[in-house]
């Protein structure tokens, strides 16, 4: 009996442990707000030394400052830059107001349609006709020698400018389960009476050959993982080949061997450092003081009430920590898992009447569709929309049509005060 009493006491103590353990499990799975902040200042010296990451544990040998330093590194003609390129370093296009943000830089894409109406990538002749760059819509604005300079052929009647995008907080975007994006897409026609229907596409994950995943990066959702995006941008924007994009765009004026991006002393290549930097950045923050105003709060309500939030989704929760994504090539770390982010995007493709006619990784019907641009960090943008051709918030809103026509009609029915409140809300993002 005494022995049983002792057992009972131990059991009581253990019941407490059970309760604590259960709470720990529940707590570890409960979504929490993702950290935000513009905390990667672009410094002239000691790049990255004043930066603060989102807390993600980086691979052995890596630091956040080092990853940012390599993100800001400028390649040169004495190294692996080019032969054709748009910029010398990632930071040239992703910098405002801090490294990883947006910029005023646009890139040029061209192409044409065949007799069936399908988009066709151009073949761009260079070096006075001696060489050509086939099957590529991107036309680089720069080259390391005159012979390699690309020019738009007269046959390419589809020409589009596209702004470079923010990459801050993209680690959280990568950690969104593809099924979450698909669920948003499936719900949109129900929310909008069939007018709005985001297109979800799956694209190859370069680091997991044969695997596909929901696209979410780039104006056409042409990439699904940050490592794939890094390799793509490194080749196409800076002309640096890597293990995932092993062949340079042209051999004209080329004096380096492919792949150019080799592992350094940490055992990682530049594309790994780029991905590490993007994954470890905080999400763009709101202007808390402005957001707390009555005007912004009312604007926030109007934003949802008139339907903006059907596509500019205010809140998405990332996949739990430990989820294997990117075709098995990446596991969501604790810092990125089960995080609530406020991107104001659905990361789906839509036709709002501003489409550029270009097809990349998606099917032909994506020619005039663009990814809903995330509105986080919007207050740092002076020019708006994919082509930067809108200079006011009102003008950008009024450019939305087609799928968004009903929502814009709702906007046009607002009073001036309500519109002002809505724009105050946008200016707080």
């Amino acid at each position: 009996m005494r022995r049983f009493g002792s057992l009972a006491r131990y059991s009581c103590a253990f019941a407490l442990v059970i309760a604590v353990g259960t709470m720990s499990i529940v707590y570890s799975q409960s979504p929490t707000q993702a950290p935000t902040g513009f905390e990667t200042p672009t410094l002239e010296n000691n790049h990255g030394s004043a930066s603060v990451s989102n807390g993600m544990t980086l691979p052995a040998g890596e630091t956040f400052a080092n990853a940012q330093d390599i993100f800001e590194e400028a390649d040169g003609v004495d190294g692996s830059l080019g032969p054709v390129y748009n910029a010398r370093g990632c930071v040239d296009c992703h910098q405002n107001p801090v490294t990883g943000g947006i910029s005023q830089v646009t890139e040029l894409r061209v192409g044409h349609r065949d007799v069936f109406g399908n988009f066709v990538n151009p073949t761009i002749v260079i070096n006075n006709g001696a060489n050509s760059i086939p099957n590529r819509s991107l036309v680089n604005d720069r080259a390391i020698c005159p012979q390699a300079q690309e020019r738009v052929p007269g046959t390419e009647n589809i020409q589009a400018l596209r702004a470079s995008l923010n990459v801050l907080g993209d680690g959280f975007v990568e950690a969104i389960d593809s099924n979450t994006l698909l669920a948003i897409a499936r719900n949109q026609p129900i929310q909008s009476g069939g007018r709005i229907a985001g297109e979800f596409i799956q694209v190859p994950v370069l680091e997991a050959p044969g695997q596909i995943r929901g696209g979410r990066f780039g104006w056409k959702n042409q990439q699904a993982s940050l490592l794939s995006f890094s390799a793509d941008a490194y080749l196409n924007e800076q002309g640096v080949s890597s293990r995932l994009q092993p062949n340079d765009i042209t051999s004209v004026c080329k004096n380096t061997a492919d792949p150019e991006d080799q592992n350094d002393s940490t055992g990682m290549a530049d594309i790994d450092h780029f991905a590490n930097f993007m994954r470890a950045t905080k999400a763009p923050p709101i202007d808390a003081a402005l957001m707390a105003t009555t005007a912004a709060q009312q604007g926030k309500q109007i934003f949802s009430a008139i339907g903006c939030s059907i596509c500019h989704v205010p809140s998405i929760t990332t996949a739990p920590a430990g989820t294997v994504i990117n075709g098995g090539a990446f596991t969501v770390p604790a810092a990125l898992g089960s995080r609530v982010i406020n991107p104001y995007s659905d990361f789906l493709l839509h036709d709002v009447g501003t489409g550029d006619g270009i097809v990349q990784n998606g099917p032909q019907d994506t020619a005039n569709k663009l990814r809903t641009p995330p509105l986080w960090g919007l207050r740092t943008h002076s020019r708006l929309m994919h082509d930067l051709q809108s200079t006011t918030r009102n003008g950008a809103i009024l450019r939305h049509g087609h799928e968004a026509a009903g929502v814009i009609s709702n906007y046009q029915s607002l009073s001036t005060t309500q519109k002002n409140n809505l724009i105050t809300f946008l200016n707080a993002l």
Binding site: D141, G194, A197, G322, N394, G401, G406, S409
Partner: protein, 262 residues
């Protein structure tokens, strides 16, 4: 007694498992569930029209302008000057009407949050063709409608009903381009040479402006003016879409506002 002991053992076992799960530093092994379809998109309710829409009646024009702009502008004459065509290349019929601003509504028309965009096609930015580096211009100053100046009002259509659809409210007020001999046309060889072929079939607004023939065309972001060389324009695709009575009403030229010749 035996049952009680067993219950406690069970409790210990469950507790041990939970404790181990809670203490496990490794994240749980989960995987993104594969999605079978490579592409998923629902059909939208908006579909392209099967046949061109009939020409507008004066009553329809008055009603549409009132629906979109209220009483801020006046439609000229009893037989308004109007054109219909697909000017932005989305396959939906758009409406163009010559209007003048109500003099006591200029503040509303030029309002920062107005429901329309005021543009000056003669000052529109068009990226240079075949340029290796295109530098965007400085942000232009906002265009402001002046008292009494004639404007081209463009209402983009939405869906099969085009500009007649109640949701068709995307509106542009074009300054300094309300010229003579307004007609619907197709992009000329000169325009295609200078701008490049358009990504989709579309109409252009042909007119004579200050004695110079030219066209107003949609760049994808704004309306722009292109002075045409003297050449034969392609025949309009939607000849029937143009209001034939407008041609007679259009015989009198509209005076250009000051400063519009540059």
């Amino acid at each position: 007694m035996k049952i009680c002991v067993l219950a406690h053992v069970k409790l210990w076992l469950i507790g041990s498992v939970l404790l181990l799960m809670a203490c496990d530093a490794r994240p749980n092994r989960l995987a993104e569930k594969p999605i079978e379809s490579q592409v998923w998109a629902a059909k939208t309710a908006v579909v392209a029209p099967a046949v061109p829409s009939p020409p507008p009646t004066p009553a329809e024009i008055y009603d549409t302008v009132t629906r979109v702009l209220g009483t801020n502008v006046v439609v000229e004459g009893k037989k308004p000057v109007a054109l219909t065509g697909d000017f932005n290349g989305d396959s939906f019929s758009d409406l163009v009407v010559v209007v003048t601003p109500e003099s006591n509504k200029l503040a509303d028309i030029n309002g920062e949050l107005a429901n329309w965009q005021i543009q000056a096609p003669r000052r529109a930015y068009v990226p240079p063709r075949s340029a290796e580096v295109a530098v965007l211009p400085n942000i232009p100053r906002p265009e402001r409608v002046k008292k009494g100046e004639p404007l081209l009002l463009v209402i983009h259509g939405d869906g099969p009903s085009g500009w007649r659809d109640p949701l068709a409210r995307q509106t542009y007020l074009l300054r300094e381009v309300a010229g003579d001999s307004l007609e619907v046309g197709k992009p000329s060889a000169a325009l295609i040479r200078d701008f490049g072929q358009f990504p989709s079939a579309r109409d252009v607004i042909c007119e004579t402006l200050g004695g110079i023939p030219g066209v107003i065309y949609w760049t994808g972001a704004s309306y722009a003016w292109h002075a045409e060389e003297q050449e034969t324009r392609p025949k309009p695709r939607f000849d029937s879409a143009r209001n034939s009575t407008d041609r007679q009403a259009r015989s009198a030229s509209i005076a250009l506002p000051a400063g519009s010749s540059h």
